[in-house]
Subunit: 405 residues, 2 copies
């Protein structure tokens, strides 16, 4: 079950970035569940992490190690190492130390990431013995295997990749992501790893990551549940040979921003398309809001409403539920008589009431689609935001009543 989720595209290798995947038997024997990224010296690395106060031990360590010139990323699925207290911290560090020893780097140059069940001890005794196999698997063409290696309840691997030219130099960007439930990222998705061969100074890279995260992973929601382990890493190897991008301006900066936005949006939307039990891919766009924040408040209230989500599942053009969600979004002094709402191009609410031109058959035609745009015009300003979400189906309940996340 996934809504028009594309197959993994051609994944351009990124020079200076090697990826290795192996099986450590963390949760399911034989499953590929351990991924290592190796970065060439002088790479830049930026990261954004969950704002959940209960952030997992690996998130705390990865955030702390980000400034040390990271050389390795160590990712496991099958166990989130979250809610595991001080021993979770010790366990994550033990894995980093073992990898640093094998690879000949400092422990502070290893960033750990975990995803899977919350609240169970990390099986260090299964991860450490598997490290040599993951290191042996390292290669620049290793992205597709890694896309599968970081999956949990995902039904398909998720990747995006493109190349673009600036001033006669070809640059490449490749990334993978995972996540299908507990998705309402707050700074990042469950896990996303994106690399480019452009040379970019760390502070510019961090700035780019913040901007494109806010256009992608921070604009999706499946169930409103912000995970304890959200992490997104952007790496720049510099292998393309350009003079390092030191400032947030110029042709390369603009091209990189646009290309990264495309890759990040593809990765983020892939998570929504593969949302647990998803049968619809829904864009919620709120226009003419007074501020970006109130546009987001309205968009998320619609996207999180169980009644809107079940109507989407039923392909029911139940516009009253959308209207009720807008009304409870908490906006001060909302003049409902200025509100317009559309399903795709079909206007359902005009000046706060049912559109006189609206015919149920038109609404039904849109709702029968797999991809739907809900567009709300608040008529009170110039801010506009859009987010992506899914419906709420029987399958969502089944998955989450059966899976221990």
């Amino acid at each position: 079950m996934a809504v028009r989720l594309p197959e993994l595209p051609l994944m351009h290798p990124i020079k200076g970035v090697e990826v290795g995947t192996c099986s450590a038997g963390i949760k399911t024997p034989g499953r590929k569940d351990l991924v290592i990224f190796k970065l060439s010296e002088n790479s830049s690395v930026a990261g954004v992490f969950t704002r959940n106060a209960f952030c997992a031990a690996p998130v705390q360590i990865a955030r702390a190690h980000l400034a040390n010139g990271p050389r390795y990323l160590l990712i496991n699925t099958g166990n989130a190492n979250a809610g595991t207290g001080p021993s979770g911290h010790t366990d994550a560090l033990a894995c980093c130390e073992a990898l640093a020893r094998e690879a000949g780097v400092e422990v502070g140059q290893v960033l750990p990431f975990s995803t899977g069940v919350i609240g169970e001890p990390l099986p260090v005794q299964r991860i450490i013995p598997a490290l040599p196999a993951a290191l042996a698997a390292l290669r620049e063409a290793g992205w597709p295997e890694a896309a599968s290696g970081i999956m949990t309840t995902d039904t398909l691997p998720k990747g995006a990749s493109l190349a673009f030219d600036v001033d006669g130099v070809t640059y490449r960007i490749t990334g993978i992501s995972k996540g299908a439930g507990m998705i309402k990222p707050d700074m990042a998705t469950m896990l996303g790893f994106v690399a480019t061969d452009a040379a970019v100074a760390p502070e510019v890279l961090q700035q780019l990551l913040s901007i494109v995260s806010n256009r992608s992973f921070n604009r999706i929601t499946i169930d409103g549940d912000t995970s304890t382990n959200d992490s997104c890493i952007l790496m720049a190897s510099g292998a393309a040979g350009n003079p390092p991008l030191e400032r947030a301006e110029g042709a390369l900066y603009e091209a990189l921003l646009e290309a990264l936005t495309r890759v990040f949006q593809q990765l983020a939307q892939a998570i929504v398309r593969d949302g647990e039990g998803a049968t619809k891919f829904v864009t919620v766009r709120v226009e003419q809001a007074a501020t970006a924040q109130e546009a987001l408040d309205v968009a998320y209230t619609i996207a999180h409403s169980p009644l809107v989500k079940t109507a989407l599942f039923a392909s029911d053009p139940n516009w009253g539920r959308v209207l009720a969600a807008v009304g409870r979004a908490g906006l001060e002094n909302l003049d409902v008589s200025r509100i317009q709402i559309w399903l795709d191009e079909v206007q359902i609410v005009t000046d706060g009431g049912r559109s006189s031109s609206y015919r149920e058959s038109d609404g039904q035609r849109v709702m029968d689609q797999e991809e739907i745009l809900i567009r709300v015009d608040l008529g009170r300003g110039n801010a506009c935001e859009q987010i992506w979400t899914t419906d709420l189906s029987h399958e969502y309940v089944r998955i989450n009543a059966e899976y221990r996340s």
Copy 2:
């Protein structure tokens, strides 16, 4: 499907308050769907209403008419008259006018209430001809029929009733409520009507209603969707003959407050017990919060989490999902190492991590129950709040994918 929802208790008639129910054929031919309350002269009436910006036409009218010495309440199910624009207002007023004419009172003394489908025109042509039958049915013992007459997706009628003595005078309180979905009241439930024969000045009655609403209807949530039609009315006929209660103090005030709290909590909890698809009745209590608001923020984040709700449905002691919900509730400077969490008396989180004493079998025993207490101690103040909610089941999705609310 309903979690230990008690049958309608003995409903004490309230002297000075008559209730009439009839069938107007609003949505389903033959169903009792129209209820009228008649109040004796000099009754006091207090009301609280939804804060949804798209509040329905009848809500706007009822709120405006509250100050006019209301004599009649006119309630229909099957149609919410919400999102109906100016014609919705005209339609609601037309029904009030027709009733006022029949009954010989002013139109401003009639309070209208509607519940049911949003966004369809109110069938005035079916309501007005049914008014004489509802008036003919008026009687002080009419409460049980009215409890059924205001239902929508409710599986059972909901009522509460009690008597208490102060200074040798016996007072009675009787009330009914309805609601099962689109339930996260913000000032009131979908619909609640409660009457007492005590004589209470209007401003004291309004104050009592605010207090007890905040202990009951404003502390429940099923799906987080605040309705456009939430209304709760408290009536005091004065037929008990006491000197009118003019101040918020004294033995009668205290007794009334306590008795109203009991009735209101029973009515509010009945809505949760009858929540759409509910298989669990869950109390979420947050203790040692810095403020009441942050206690509520944490409690509602837990209660609205689809992952917590599906774990409750599955009877899965998945404490990691509760912990993740606490972590994303948006509290400033939350020190997770001070947090304790219990399922009933079983401590699952100690100082922010899994309790060393916790055994899965203990958690399982609690989760297998139909009634569960999730208790969170934030360790940062003295505020405490509790709310009541349900799980998220297949049946919730089925009902809301099929019913046009």
